[in-house]
Symmetry: C2
Subunit: 248 residues, 2 copies
């Protein structure tokens, strides 16, 4: 499985993804799921991939190759005039890749499906964030749905829903993502460290900050320990239920 | 879907279940998922059902009928000598019911599967808690795995994992369950109020307290509001991540 989050803030976009891929529980590997294309100052495009690894790697490679062969019939995401067009290109590539895998007639143990969170900014337009489905269509983030999760989304969702605020700084948002990822990691073996974190400040059309958070990251460990204690404290602060027992 | 939790404490057993059943999103009903058989002071048996409603209702009815016809070839859960035997009877009934549904040859839109959390105490033995699978086999709670969830388990799990303590009072445990159910309710349409709550104090072999928590329950509403605020406060209390941006 996987856990990825892309989030829209007033300050820009922030992305986080884990790196664990597994086929069963004994075939575990580390693969990057965050991919970025950048023409610094003109455009920045980031993709977080979830699902069948062969599918997502193929999609990334196809997008990559087209950037090198601009004469290709299919357009390059580095030349698309808008993020909407980029989402269209990525969606079509994803759909065609899944279809060709499925049409080969071979029966795979796991499906060829994959989902992509796509975000970025092209000079002259605001930052945009999309969730692209295996069918190639997509939805866009809005004020009502300002973040997308993919993969193992449930464990880490309650804290996102409760604590998200569009006016958050990147520092606060990074903290929120770490808490959400930590809750997921604690509950599910198929999501694993290291995590990739990336920040794209609005208006810059470039990656503002990017880092990989490993098991020895002091901040992540502080959050992981601290969140357990803070959660217990929060729980303790609520009034107790009255359970009227006859024998008490 | 459904959300049920059965929890073992030093003080005894505590159970909570929601009441929403749905086939799709427009065929929603309220059905009780908590069933109790009691010979007060001698034994108390509580079941929380999740899965196909026709299957679980059939299982409950069969168990119920056997209590009224003790001459039946199949044993009654009110006469079984131990909770292990009760779990065996329930498991076999569940498996046979699922099998007969599946063997009828009819293709149903949803599977006939169901899962049952079973807990209780028979005089002379300690309280015991089981999770019974559709196959009829089961696992028992232990110090390492002191609670079972069924249905939509993921949203409400992180707080259970972090805040559970076997030395909790029933009042604290009820609070914990309300927080866990509230997190699930907030995230998933297929889990709904009212909730059923039941407490079985160790050694009494009877239901100590039972109530239904509706949408207008003042305590639940206080917890629901208070938990959001407490969670935000807990989140705020953690140190922020340092995001070094060039332009800041």
């Amino acid at each position: 499985m996987t856990y990825c989050v892309g989030m829209q803030l007033d300050a820009g976009l922030i992305f986080m993804s884990d790196t664990r891929t597994n086929a069963g529980v004994d075939n575990i590997s580390v693969f990057r799921k965050m991919f970025t294309w950048e023409a610094a100052g003109e455009r920045v495009i980031t993709m977080l991939t979830a699902g069948n690894l062969a599918t997502t790697q193929s999609v990334v490679s196809q997008l990559e190759e087209r950037n090198k062969r601009p004469a290709d019939r299919r357009p390059s995401i580095l030349e698309a005039p808008s993020m909407f067009q980029v989402a269209n290109i990525v969606g079509e590539t994803l759909r065609d890749t899944i279809r060709s895998g499925a049409m080969s007639g071979s029966e795979a143990e796991s499906k060829f499906d994959a989902t992509i969170i796509l975000g970025g900014q092209i000079l002259g337009s605001p930052p945009r964030l999309f969730l692209i489905y295996p069918e190639g269509n997509f939805i866009e983030a809005s004020a009502d749905t300002p973040f997308f999760q993919s993969g193992e989304t449930k464990y880490g969702r309650p804290i996102l829903v409760r604590a998200y605020d569009p006016r958050m700084s990147f520092a606060e948002a990074a903290k929120l993502l770490m808490v959400s990822f930590d809750s997921t990691l604690k509950a599910n073996l198929s999501v694993g460290l290291p995590f990739d974190l990336q920040v794209v400040p609005a208006g810059t059309c470039r990656v503002g900050f990017e880092t990989r958070i490993g098991a020895d990251d002091p901040y992540y460990n502080e959050i992981s320990r601290g969140w357990g204690a803070a959660l217990k404290q929060a729980f303790k602060s609520l009034p107790e239920y009255s359970v009227p027992l006859e024998n008490e």
